[in-house]
């Protein structure tokens, strides 16, 4: 009783910088409003929900903008456990804009299906809130809470079409492996806390030096945490959930998982590696090297063999993840800043391109109702605009200049080669060979679009809803601008200073 009283007396309410957490507040209010409005609107007026979701996201983006323009570029809350720095602002902006595009992609899909709409938007906003929190988390507890916040709604979204066994399979598989990953990670985190006596990442970095009596425990803790995130970003050999989940989940949810959810996993990984384990790099660098090489190669080889478009994209997104990991294999030392920049650039470009591709797939599947690659046959002949857009997105994913993807790959190679070691060159050559293999399957889809006949000779036009058109316009423009004027996206990468990393 006295203990409780004394600690209660010592506790003072933290000073909260409301401007710094305004995006999170807007999202929290938004998702509550969506939930309430859903209760009191008739079926006819459910379209309101998608509009409200979109407005919440744009509304949350506003304070991100004002924070970025404000001269105090770094705001630290709760003793440095929650930090709003430029890195987190760039990532929050990415999540909110990607979320907005996903709303545009989803709205017609959700409204035409016969499932529950309100819950869809509510879960989407909740998951996005988790991601926005993840961008600022600098403490094991807040990282973990943000991770669960973003993951649990995503499990439910994957199983949203609950009368479809494939969707159920998607949700269950994602849930079981996701929870397993969380458990492994949590075990690693508990070891970290045991070694460092703190959950703050900056404090942990002082204790993790792979020296002394607990070197083995430290190494084990680092490996467990990295493995946990390897599941989240579907790095080989922890990728097995991805193809089934991507195929079974509703297509807009797949877009969400492969872009936003994956990006959140990557930034958490980057933050941990660069702020908590910089001195542990002798353990994680070789580990990431192997993960990256395996992820690129295995993802590609399996993608080549797919006949289902979404499964192919699932494996291709696994393989793209290998490219994001590539610069991290040398990060930690002098190459850390370049690696951070490369990851941010890659994620931004990849988000624009991949969302655009899902947009085209959604538009085409409204007509064909099929997930086969062959269903894209002759697209250019009867829907030239969609055909050209799909070509642009695929070519960008394959990394062909002057489309956005090349600058992502370029930044990754550049960061990797700042360390002129044989290991770096070896990984670069593996990456180069893989970028060629990748064209095998991207080119295969292009071949369907341009050179193959229309399946069943069905030349009827595709009706693209206006929300999809806007989404395609935004993503195509971004893909082209990033590719032709790469300075734009590299600028984001350059300003994305991560507080606490590089001794800062």
């Amino acid at each position: 009783m006295t203990l409780l009283a004394s600690s209660a007396a010592a506790w003072t309410a933290p000073v909260i910088d409301y401007h710094a957490i305004a995006p999170e507040i807007v999202l929290a209010v938004g998702l509550t409003v969506v939930l309430l409005v859903d209760l009191f609107t008739s079926e006819r007026n459910k379209w309101l929900l998608s509009a409200l979701t979109g407005f919440s996201l744009l509304g949350a983006a506003l304070p991100v903008l004002t924070l970025a323009l404000h001269e105090d570029s770094v705001r630290s809350l709760f003793d440095g456990r929650y930090v709003v720095d430029e890195f987190s602002l760039v990532m929050k902006g990415l999540f909110l804009l990607a979320g907005y595009v996903i709303v545009l992609l989803s709205s017609s899909h959700v409204e035409e299906g016969d499932y529950w709409r309100g819950e869809y938007w509510f879960l989407l906003l909740t998951s996005l809130l988790g991601m926005v929190m993840m961008a600022s988390s600098r403490d094991l507890v807040s990282v973990f809470v943000a991770l669960e916040f973003l993951s649990i709604p995503a499990y439910m979204l994957a199983a949203w079409r609950k009368r479809d066994p494939k969707s159920n399979e998607a949700g269950v598989k994602y849930f079981l492996l996701g929870v397993f990953a969380s458990a492994v990670m949590l075990y690693g985190m508990s070891l970290l806390y045991g070694v460092a006596n703190s959950t703050l990442l900056v404090d942990i970095s002082k204790s993790i030096d792979l020296n002394g009596d607990f070197a083995a425990v430290q190494a084990l803790a680092v490996v467990f945490v990295v493995v946990g995130f390897a599941f989240k970003v579907s790095a080989v050999p922890f990728h097995t959930w991805a193809p089934d989940t991507y195929e079974g989940a509703p297509t807009p949810v797949t877009a969400f998982l492969s872009v936003a959810s994956k990006a959140a996993g990557f930034i958490a990984l980057v933050v941990l590696l660069l702020t908590a384990f910089p001195e542990g790099r002798d353990v994680w660098q070789p580990f990431i090297w192997v993960l990256s090489a395996l992820t690129m190669t295995i993802g590609n080889v399996f993608a080549l063999r797919q006949s289902n478009l979404i499964r192919m994209i699932a494996y291709s997104s696994v393989s793209q993840g290998g490219f994001v990991l590539m610069p991290l294999a040398v990060a930690g030392g002098a190459a850390g800043e370049a690696a951070l920049r490369a990851v941010v650039v890659y994620l931004v470009v990849y988000a624009a391109t991949n969302l655009g591709m899902f947009g085209v797939i959604l538009a085409v599947s409204r007509k064909t109702r099929s997930g086969d690659i062959a269903s894209m046959g002759g697209l250019f002949s009867y829907a030239p605009a969609l055909g050209v857009l799909l070509t642009i997105f695929l070519a960008s994913l394959a990394g062909i200049p002057p489309l956005g993807g090349w600058i992502g790959k370029f930044a990754a190679f550049q960061a990797l080669l700042t360390e002129a070691t044989p290991w770096a060159y070896g990984l670069a050559v593996i990456g180069a060979v893989n970028s060629v293999i990748a064209f095998g399957y991207y080119g295969n889809v292009m071949r369907e679009v341009w050179m193959r006949p229309v399946p069943h000779g069905d030349n009827s036009a595709i009706v693209t809803p206006s929300s999809l058109r806007i989404a395609l316009g935004i993503t195509a423009l971004a893909t082209l601008v990033f590719g032709i004027l790469p300075g734009v996206v590299l600028h984001f990468g350059d300003m994305a200073d991560l507080v606490g990393a590089f001794g800062g």
């Binding site: 920049r341 250019f380 030239p384 070509t391 070519a395 062909i400 200049p401 002057p402 090349w406 600058i407 370029f410 930044a411 190679f413 550049q414 080669l417 700042t418 002129a420 060159y425 670069a428 050559v429 180069a432 060979v433 970028s435 060629v436 064209f439 095998g440 080119g443 292009m446 071949r447 341009w450 050179m451 004027l485 790469p486 300075g487 590299l490 600028h491 990468g493 350059d494």
Partner: protein, 507 residues
């Protein structure tokens, strides 16, 4: 190196004008074919006019300097700039790309290959033109890389959509080979960037500082560039995409591929790989020379074995590019002069041969040599033009082909310091034998197709050279004769630039 910055807008306009045409084409309705053809024609005429303006303002007394130089920020974070310029090596190739595109557009007014859709066809052709012209003027490795890659997709679709029976296989093969090369090339570009202190991607800067890199590292970096460029040339043993791509591509695609795209590779050696990595170039040169002469003999034997006229011409490209690479591998100004002349000559002659092949196919509905014959009696003008181009291709003195081939062989007699003279003289003898084979396969081709009695009795589609063809072909034919009679027209422009490029090798 001296930079002349007068008229620094002119190269950008010339390079990106086709993209303006693309934008106009995109908003032109697909059904209005007349308007589409007009836009494409006007765009390519305007491009050539800008090209002629460039030529007229080119300072011929300083052909070794970069001219019309423009440099502005592009990607400051990675120290890459929009840096363009033109010297005596770039000028002929830059203009050739513009002229060939115009001629191909003129030819296409009357010959849109199946399955039609001129809108997409011309859009791709104009994008190609921007990529080709841009590659020849880029003075920054990243810019070079972007332009170099820009040509890939349009050519992929041109072969894959408008090509022959095996078009999908051929187009994918073309794409994968070239992309494999350029991926390793990009790694090599990054490596040279970091090894020279991560200061700049500008080619003149790398030429100044590349020589300071340790020899061992140079050799590895050169290996990356070598694969990128050698696939594009294509050199034996990376050539296998070429016969398939050429055979399956539509006539227009073959002409552009032969006349310009192959030159991107050889140009890359002359402009980037050799001057920036001089020590590695000396190490690699004998191997390059060896592969070049293998290519000459292999290409010739390949030609002798072909039964398809277009495939034969494709294999002859392998042999001709072998001569070009042999000239480059001597690392002497004599050899590189011959090589650059050879690039232009091969562009004119082989481009022309592919035009002829397209027209033969249109008239006879086959390119199988055994089913052709008697062209001189049925379509005499076409037959005579084929004769002229065959002679030019086998290196008859007085026509353009001679000045690429003969000096290239001769240059191997006396390679640059540090190269093994015996090895090169052996190459010289083998290459000289190659010219005999070249005469054999071309004369045999001509004999079987043009002489004898006609085997084709279906006169339905037989008509001699029509107006569109005359307009598209005459400039090439005139250039073949003119450069053959007065080779100095070209050599006088090329030589100062070659001297400048090879400064590291003592001229």
């Amino acid at each position: 190196m001296q930079m002349i910055r007068d008229y620094n807008w002119v190269l950008s306009v010339g390079t990106f004008l086709p993209m303006l045409g693309v934008l106009v084409l995109l908003v032109t309705p697909k059904a209005n074919e007349a308007a589409i053809k007009t836009v494409a024609l006007l765009t390519s005429i305007a491009t050539v006019i800008v090209g002629v303006f460039t030529l007229l303002n080119f300072n011929f007394d300083q052909a070794g300097s970069m001219q019309f130089v423009a440099q502005t920020d592009w990607i400051p974070v990675i120290k890459s700039t929009y840096f363009i310029g033109l010297d005596g090596i770039s000028l002929p190739l830059y203009l050739l790309s513009m002229v060939v595109t115009l001629l191909v557009v003129i030819y296409s007014l009357d010959h849109i290959p199946s399955p039609g859709n001129p809108k997409a066809f011309f859009v791709l052709m104009l994008i190609l033109q921007t990529g080709m012209a841009g590659t020849f003027i880029a003075q920054d490795l990243i810019l070079f890389f972007v332009f170099f890659e820009l040509v890939l997709l349009p050519m992929y679709f041109m072969i894959g959509v408008w090509g022959g029976e095996q078009r999908q296989y051929a187009s994918l093969k073309f794409f994968l080979y070239t992309m494999f090369g350029s991926a390793l090339m990009l790694v090599a570009f990054l490596a040279i960037f970091f090894k020279t202190g991560a200061e700049s991607f500008a080619i003149p800067y790398l030429v100044e500082n590349g020589g300071g890199i340790a020899k061992n590292a140079q050799v590895w970096i050169f290996a990356g560039m070598f694969i990128g460029f050698a696939v594009k040339v294509p050199m034996f043993p990376f050539h296998t995409w070429l016969p398939d791509a050429h055979t399956q591509a539509p006539t227009q695609g073959s002409v552009i591929l032969a006349a310009i795209l192959l030159k991107l590779g050889t140009y890359g050696f002359v402009r980037i790989a050799i001057p920036t990595l001089p020590d590695a170039a000396v190490e690699w040169a004998p191997w390059i020379g060896g592969l070049a002469v293998i290519g000459i003999i292999y290409g010739a034997f390949g030609c002798l074995a072909q039964t398809d006229m277009k495939r034969l011409i494709a294999f002859s490209s392998v042999a001709h590019m072998g001569f070009v690479m042999l000239g480059i591998s001597t690392l002497t100004s004599f050899g590189v002069n011959a090589a650059v002349f050879g690039m232009v000559a091969h562009g004119l002659i082989t481009g022309m041969l592919f035009f002829i092949a397209g027209s033969v196919k249109e008239r006879y509905h086959t390119l199988e040599i055994a089913k052709l014959g008697g062209m001189l009696t049925q379509v005499p003008r076409l037959g005579w033009i084929l004769g002229l181009c065959s002679m030019a291709s086998l290196g008859l003195p007085g026509l353009a082909g001679f000045w690429g081939e003969f000096p290239a062989i001769l240059s191997a007699y006396n390679p640059a310091d540090g190269l093994n003279v015996t090895v090169y003289r052996t190459y010289m003898v083998i290459a000289a034998l190659g010219t005999v084979f070249a005469a054999a396969y071309l004369l045999w081709l001509y004999q079987r197709t043009a002489f004898g009695t006609p085997k084709n009795h279906d006169h339905h589609d037989l008509h001699d050279v029509n107006t569109y063809e005359w307009v598209a072909w005459l400039p090439l034919l005139v250039a073949i004769v003119a450069f053959g009679v007065a080779p100095n027209l070209l050599f006088s422009i090329i030589d100062p630039a070659v001297q400048e490029t090879l400064r590291a090798f003592g001229g």
